[in-house]
């Protein structure tokens, strides 16, 4: 019996010829991504020794720079851990700063055909690079750092063939809202994305879609690697060895579905979840929006800055609406400045912050008060996610968020483009 992409990567990582749904396997982790959150309250107990310092990367991202002595100690502990074990791929508070999944992409750390683990639930982001990547718990990360191993269940796979081309105002965010609306949650299933629709997507757009698969409870989300994907990695990590994995022709799927990207229109998820909870932006309620946010591991890319700047160019944000933009990394921030996007956004009235997880996880840079309404191009719209549990979070694409910042109510961005 043939294997799906995810099954092949899992089999390779377990040193097995074959795996099938229902198996539970012990795997070697190719890349372990350690973040500042691991050191908060000693969530990840420090192992005496690490399995391989060259397979571990460390990033300070969720609260960086530190905002309190406790968080400063957390960063200090991360630095000491890196020094002690000779971990050289360390992203401190400097020009290498950024959100972990963004850096994993931008430094070519996620390698096709390999397995990557991190404690953040949006680790599936690296699936854009044909890398089986998954969020695990903090104690497991301690074990992974010590032994290089963890376990995974082999789940059934759903195959998505993407066709057509996404219209310029649309984003990977609109694709996931469409999938969540049409097919619901995907708990205990892997997904793989293939087709000519994928080839037309930038690596940033693919990564937005891969990242958001956490919100439909996917186990592993993996894209087929094409020339664009391979070139992206070669450019950033020229010495890396890897072998992209493709599904066998006789692989068995739980379902095979086709999504026409050309038929997707701007969508907005209502508060609580993106599962079966989105509607077309043009049909959305017209209540006042207090805060519009673009950022996070899903939408802090240069593509997102570009489209947001295009929407707001020559316009001013609505009275009573705050517009906050947080880049995925300091390198993106710098490039967005060079290209004039930051200036355009700030002239319109946006507050552009340092790169950190920030408002997305309710830690900093845009916390919501009771009764406020926020539209966000980030990852998650759970109750209480961005501050008060009495705030309401609508989730949409960067273009929709930017258009909403201008109008002050949920707005279809196509009229501004």
């Amino acid at each position: 019996m043939g294997m799906t992409m995810v099954e092949k990567i899992l089999a390779r990582s377990a040193g097995l010829e074959n795996v099938s749904p229902g198996d539970v396997i012990t795997v070697d982790v190719g890349t372990a991504v350690v973040i500042d959150q691991n050191f908060m309250h000693n969530r990840m107990r420090e192992p005496k020794q690490v399995f391989d310092p060259d397979k571990i990367v460390i990033m300070l991202d969720h609260i960086a720079p530190a905002d309190s002595p406790m968080r400063a100690s957390m960063h200090k502990a991360a630095r000491r851990f890196a020094d002690k074990h000779g971990i050289t791929r360390f992203h401190d508070v400097n020009n290498g700063l950024g959100i972990c999944h963004q850096l994993v992409a931008d430094f070519g750390y996620a390698l096709p055909g390999t397995l990557l683990a991190c404690v953040d639930s949006h680790t599936c982001s690296a699936g854009a690079f044909n890398c089986a990547a998954r969020g695990i718990g903090h104690p497991e990360m301690s074990q992974v750092c010590a032994t290089g191993q963890t376990w995974f269940p082999v789940c059934e796979t759903i195959r998505y063939t993407l066709t057509g081309t996404l219209a310029p105002a649309m984003n990977g965010k609109d694709i996931i809202l469409h999938i969540g609306n049409t097919y619901g949650e995907h708990a205990m299933h892997n997904v793989e994305f293939v087709g000519e629709g994928v080839s037309g997507m930038s690596m940033n757009a693919r990564r937005t879609l891969a990242t958001m698969c956490a919100e439909i409870s996917v186990e592993f989300a993996v894209f087929e690697a094409d020339d664009r994907c391979i070139a992206h990695i070669r450019e950033r990590n020229p010495d890396a060895e890897f072998e992209a994995q493709f599904a066998d022709p006789d692989a068995v799927y739980a379902a095979e579905r086709t999504v026409d990207l050309g038929a997707i229109e701007p969508l907005v998820a209502y508060p609580g979840t993106i599962v079966a909870n989105a509607r077309p932006v043009k049909d959305a309620d017209q209540d006042h929006i207090d805060q519009a946010f673009i950022g996070s591991c899903a939408n802090g890319t240069l593509d997102d800055f570009e489209i947001a700047a295009k929407v707001v160019k020559g316009r001013k944000i609505a009275r009573g609406t705050r517009f906050i933009v947080t880049p995925g990394s300091q390198a993106i921030f710098l490039e967005a400045m060079r290209r004039g996007y930051v200036q355009t956004l700030m002239e319109a009235g946006a507050v552009v912050t340092n790169s950190t997880c920030g408002a997305c996880c309710g830690y900093s840079n845009g916390i919501l008060a009771p009764g406020e309404k926020c539209v966000t191009a980030s990852t998650r719209n759970f109750k209480g996610r961005m501050g008060s549990p009495e705030a309401e979070i609508f989730l949409a694409s960067p273009a929709t968020v930017a258009a909403t910042a201008i109008r002050g109510t949920l707005t279809d961005p196509r009229e501004f483009l």
Partner: protein, 170 residues
């Protein structure tokens, strides 16, 4: 391994942010568990007792990798049974030594407050009020072993793999 306890019922799609909200994670570690379900069930954390059991709906624990299962354990929850359990949350239950069992049909099988008995050799749930038994879904011995050990840290400690906790980041 067998557990007897009083049940607390929750619905579908209970997420990690309800159990351990983001802003609460910035508070001192010991204070965090008392905010479990603060947004959807205020006062619950004060009512729950050692040995109580949570009965959830579909995709229990969806969301983040944060130590939400650890909060429930600190409040005395020994065992979580649900129609289905989110993959990452199930891992974290094992990681922190919380026994977790998927048991399709459990929502209708149990009423809030029922005394129940969960048997992890057979993966069954017995409702002491009705006397009926419901079969849960088996999972491998390897995972059960981690739960029995009280989670990953006791296992790693026994092997001498861990440093002492850093007091500066406690």
């Amino acid at each position: 391994m067998r557990f007897d306890g009083k049940s607390w019922k929750f619905g579908d799609h209970i997420n990690t942010d309800l159990i351990l909200p983001g802003p609460v994670m910035l508070m001192p570690y010991d204070e965090q568990p008392q905010y479990a379900f603060h947004a959807n069930r205020p006062g619950w954390a004060a009512e729950v007792s050692q040995g109580d059991i949570i009965v959830g709906g579909q995709n229990f624990g969806t969301g983040s990798g944060r130590p939400a299962a650890r909060s429930l354990k600190e409040l005395g929850i020994t065992c979580i049974i649900a129609e289905s359990i989110n993959g990452l949350f199930f891992r974290n239950c094992a990681n922190y030594g919380v026994f977790a069992l998927e048991c399709p049909g459990i929502s209708k099988f149990i009423e809030e407050g029922d005394e129940i008995e969960v048997e992890f050799g057979q993966f069954t749930v017995r409702n002491k009020r009705t006397g009926e038994v419901l079969q849960g879904t088996h999972f491998p011995e390897m995972v059960l072993e981690v739960m029995r050990a009280g989670g990953i840290y006791p296992m790693m400690e026994a092997k001498g793999l861990l440093e002492e906790p850093n007091p500066e980041t406690a």
